[in-house]
């Protein structure tokens, strides 16, 4: 792979005790998205769709927060 290889995402975030669970969340999150997509396609009600979409969004924000919280070896 070309380009810079960054390793910043391996450094535990502020909540190092639980931070490592977030990496594994990528697989789980796609499963949540698949369920949400399935609920939409099968024609679930407005409330169900909104709830599934909101759960997915919050999970993505949590994972993003983990990455934002990680210390970066940028060497400026």
């Amino acid at each position: 792979m070309s380009g810079r290889r960054s390793s910043w995402f391996l450094i535990p975030a502020r909540s190092s005790r639980f931070g490592h669970y977030f990496e594994q969340m990528a697989t789980i999150l796609f499963a949540v998205l698949l369920v949400a997509g399935w609920l939409i396609v099968r024609g679930s009600g407005r409330g169900t769709v909104l709830a599934a979409w909101t759960v997915s969004l919050v999970a993505i924000l949590l994972l993003f927060n983990y990455h934002v919280g990680a210390k970066l070896p940028l060497n400026f």
Partner: protein, 203 residues
Amino acid sequence: MTGRLGFWLAHLFVLAYCGVLIGGFAVQFVTGDLPCPLCILQRMAMMLVAFGPLYIIVRTRRGDVRLADYAMGYGMSIVAAVVGAAIAVRQILLHIVPPDPGYGSPILGLHLYTWAFITFCVVLVFCGVSLIFARALVPRGVRFGWPSKVVCGLFLVIVAANLVVVFLQAGFHWFLPPDPDRYEIFHSLAFWDGGAISGGAAE
């Protein structure tokens, strides 16, 4: 007439993001650039964005779409696009200081995360315009036929494919490797030489 236009624009929206996600797969499998965690987050945000028009398409099963459902669909897309744009900007800023070459290979002169940011901006403009003309564009007199089924099926297949691929990449480890240049699951299961876990993948 404009009701039909709104219906097919929703299809075009989902198909466009299907194309972008398939393009991401093409870069991953053809050039060998494995996605980093932020790239994966952007893929997730794209899926969340596409849920909006997908919801509008599926509502046509029950006849004409209500204005509230139309607004909810594109409202979902706007919120998800803002989140996706924030993730893309985060990655752009990580590599903005020269002489950082950026992460992965550039496509048509821009890195994939920059393209992702552009797609999220396009979504914001599209949804804004669609909501301005919402009364005219709400799908009316349309039928949930085979093109709609194909679009919905294709999108779900792409989400499922991402689930499988990211599992292959992350394996059973708590951490993704620092340099995502291999599929950890195969190494964990010792399918080839040096099956030991390395690169910080294990804990």
